[in-house]
Symmetry: C2
Subunit: 126 residues, 2 copies
């Protein structure tokens, strides 16, 4: 049973839209511009923290591809820390969230992951 308190109604930071991840060519096509690099690095950076990466995989692998904070509290950090990291992942455009009743559910953004993956795999294949 979830013991996590309801999130405040504070305004949510603007999200990077999924299309943003598709902005950029494979990394070996040409040098990224400064703007492209800023945008893309932000997403890689969000996955560049071990705790955040574990939480991300916990959400992504949870039943139905979504989870609330209370579902994924077994990575050895406090629930406020879990919330903090999920918010960071959301701000980077890697998770979306929806409030249903008391709880906020997080879900992976497949389009963003696919675009980030393509940056790497197309670069690897060429």
């Amino acid at each position: 049973m979830c013991q996590h308190r309801r999130m405040s109604n504070a305004p949510v930071l603007p999200l990077i839209q999924p299309e943003a991840a598709a902005c950029c060519p494979p990394l070996n096509e040409r040098p990224l511009t400064s703007e492209e690099a800023e945008r893309t690095a932000r997403m890689f950076k969000a996955l560049g923290d071990p705790v955040r990466l574990r939480l991300f995989s916990a959400v992504a692998s949870h039943e139905g591809g979504e989870a609330c904070v209370c579902d994924i509290s077994d990575v050895g950090v406090s629930q406020p820390t879990v919330s903090h990291h999920l918010k960071k992942l959301k701000e980077a455009g890697l998770l979306s969230s929806e409030r249903r009743g008391t709880w906020v559910y997080y879900r992976v953004e497949p389009a963003v992951l696919a675009a980030m993956g393509a940056l790497l795999t197309k670069a690897a294949a060429a």
Copy 2:
């Protein structure tokens, strides 16, 4: 013409082997273990800096898929900064390097990129 001075003969830090990148399941298969997350986050973090990402794409897109520091000095940072970032990318296992005569040439590690990409694209597809 390269104006960059020759690198010292100081011992090189141990590299993450390319196989290491293939350690981990797609991010939506199951929650990563602490060790898997440490290893994988390190590579994402290396691409999580805009300047480093631009330099990485500069190396990856350079003729022959390799470049020396002097080839990629047009991203608006000093040559020592370029060297610093290339070393970080190498330590994360994303670039390999080889000295040929006076210059050190950097090259992308396609196996590592492919493995990182697969973590994301397989997660996106499921």
